[in-house]
């Protein structure tokens, strides 16, 4: 398969679109946790009970459509190879937890891959909906409609006082986790983000890197999400998150301008060096690739580089993860082989932009 073909299939259709503020916000996501009222939660439920739930999804939702979310496909974990599951995790369509639980769990994915409903994860149901760019309000509205659609046929575990009942006390109430994925290179280079994080935490929001381990944000990509799910309405939670993200966008834009003014030539140098590494290296580790991709993307946003689409960052961050590299190679690869494959995939991808 050619790289172009592979990418077309690998990258979710919605990811190829630009959304509002997509120079900084890569995507917006709403996740809703729900449970059936008449079954123990997956953590302790028997196989038989979990099968009943899975069956319910097979009978009621497989092949269905709701609005723009068409032809829901039910991917059952027990039918998938471990590389296939890994790829779904890398695309953020399922959680690592779901991939690990091979029995009686599944995910219902819309054709455009904007919606993924995980079945028998930590909760019976985890609805996830993505939008490109900064579109939290729209994501909430659509996720809520999807939730209503499911509720037409499912009796949810709900309590007047505690709201939607979930396995973990950290999700009870709205069961909602709203999050925004942001590329913040200038705030990272200037280390301002570290100073801002405690203040953001104070507001009940969490800032974390999504690639890499621990607190470091590989590729300068951060996820901002709400921590509190109880005692506030969905709209209020989203509004609070919205206003913090708005401020971060402004700060990032200001930091980029300041960097340009204070050390324009050094910044330009950094960007083109990274571009050179991506274009020519033969072996590249994921961390270095992420750093260079972040620089390249910043170069595109600032107008230093104009023949490459900005979606390249998101795209290559996903495609250069171990699962995808192995899927593309159609083989199991050790770490050293992956570094070689990663370098060649990136070179090939950049080559596509030079051809026309």
């Amino acid at each position: 398969m050619s790289l172009q073909q592979f990418m077309n299939e690998a990258i979710s259709p919605w990811m190829k679109q630009d959304g509002p503020d997509s120079d900084i916000v890569l995507s917006s996501r709403i996740r809703l946790a729900r449970n059936f009222s008449n079954s123990p939660f997956p953590l302790i439920a028997s196989e038989e009970k979990l099968n009943k739930i899975l069956n319910f999804f097979r009978e009621n939702f497989k092949g269905q459509s709701f609005k723009n979310y068409e032809n829901f496909e039910l991917l059952e974990m027990s039918d998938l190879q471990s590389i296939e599951k890994r790829v779904l995790v890398e695309k953020h369509l399922i959680s690592p937890h779901l991939a690990e639980k091979s029995q009686q769990s599944a995910t219902l994915i819309s054709q455009n891959e904007q919606v993924s409903v995980m079945v028998n994860e930590e909760d019976h149901i985890r609805i996830q909906l993505y939008f490109p760019g900064f579109q939290l309000d729209k994501a909430l509205e659509q996720a809520s409609q999807l939730d209503d659609w499911l509720e037409e046929r499912i009796d949810y575990a709900f309590d007047e006082k505690r709201g939607y009942l979930t396995t973990c006390p950290t999700n009870v109430g709205t069961g909602m986790r709203a999050s925004v994925m942001m590329h913040l290179p200038a705030l990272s280079i200037t280390q301002q983000i570290n100073r801002m994080t405690p203040a953001i935490n104070q507001l009940g929001l969490v800032v974390r890197g999504i690639y890499g381990e621990g607190s470091e944000a590989v590729g300068n990509i951060y996820q901002i999400s709400n921590q509190i799910t109880l005692g506030k309405s969905e709209e209020d939670i989203v509004e609070d998150l919205h206003s913090v993200v708005k401020q971060l966008i402004d700060q990032e834009r200001r930091a980029r301008e300041a960097l340009l003014q204070r050390s324009g030539i050094q910044l330009e140098d950094r960007i083109f060096r990274s571009y050179g590494v991506l274009k020519h290296s033969r072996v590249i580790e994921s961390k270095e690739a992420a750093k260079c991709l972040s620089d390249l993307r910043l170069g595109i946003d600032l107008g230093f580089i104009d023949h490459i689409p900005r979606t390249i960052l998101n795209e290559l961050m996903i495609l250069t993860q171990p699962g995808f590299l192995q899927q593309y190679a159609k083989a199991t690869l050790g770490p050293d082989e992956r570094d070689i494959r990663r370098a060649s995939l990136i070179r090939e991808r950049l080559q596509l932009e030079n051809e026309d």
């Binding site: 449970n35 009222s37 079954s39 123990p40 939660f41 953590l43 302790i44 439920a45 028997s46 196989e47 959680s95 690592p96 937890h97 779901l98 991939a99 690990e100 930590e122 809520s144 939730d147 209503d148 509720e151 037409e152 009796d155 949810y156 575990a157 709900f158 309590d159 007047e160 006082k161 505690r162 709201g163 939607y164 009942l165 979930t166 396995t167 973990c168 006390p169 950290t170 009870v172 109430g173 709205t174 909602m176 986790r177 999050s179 009940g204 969490v206 999504i210 381990e213 621990g214 996820q223 999400s225 921590q227 509190i228 799910t229 109880l230 005692g231 506030k232 309405s233 969905e234 939670i237």
Partner: protein
């Protein structure tokens, strides 16, 4: 302790998994915890879980709460639907089923307050069917505050309309409640 997966790094994540009532203890490093899916990338659970278990374990009979039951007794609290005991709940930091919330209700406020910045009551969406007449109750409350506003602004004609609407809604509510019995 050494990580049981890679046998290289120090185990920093200690978990108890309960699958179909079978308990397994897991001691792994952060790297393997992520790799094996014990720790989800995007999610919050871990730090919060640590916080939760800390909270649970410090909980005994509280000197500040005269009504608190002796430790022994609340240990025996057991969910009639799924069989989870309070002690197990405290250790794993997770509920077993919807009924657990009712069973452990008295002990939940401090936990929720800690995790959700002082909040203990839901104030968000109500499901259309399961929510029953909660929608009506909320609508009545909203109309009542609107009514107060209109009276303050001396918009009596409008206020009369809203008052009639409230009466109407209250009638619906009572009919619904009678019907359920």
């Amino acid at each position: 302790m050494e990580c049981q997966e890679c046998h290289q790094r120090q185990a920093t994540v200690h978990l108890t998994q309960v699958i179909n009532g079978q308990k397994t203890e897991i001691h792994v490093c952060e790297h393997c915890a992520k790799d094996k899916g014990y720790m989800s990338y995007g999610e919050e659970n871990f730090t919060l879980n640590d916080l939760l278990s800390g909270l649970f374990h410090s909980e005994g009979p509280s000197p500040y709460n005269k009504k608190a039951q002796p430790y022994q007794q609340h240990n025996q609290l057991k969910c009639p639907t799924c069989g989870l005991t309070y002690q197990e709940f405290a250790r794993i930091g997770k509920f077993g089923c919807a009924t657990c919330y009712k069973t452990f209700d008295e002990r939940l406020n401090p936990i929720f307050r800690r995790v959700h910045s002082g909040n203990t009551r839901h104030d968000g969406k109500i499901p259309k069917r399961e929510g029953g007449n909660l929608h009506l109750k909320r609508e009545i409350d909203e109309h009542k505050s609107k009514l107060r506003q209109l009276i303050e602004q001396e918009e009596f004609e409008q206020a009369a309309k809203v008052r009639d609407r409230i009466k109407n809604l209250e009638q619906q509510l009572h009919q619904g409640e009678d019907g359920e019995q």
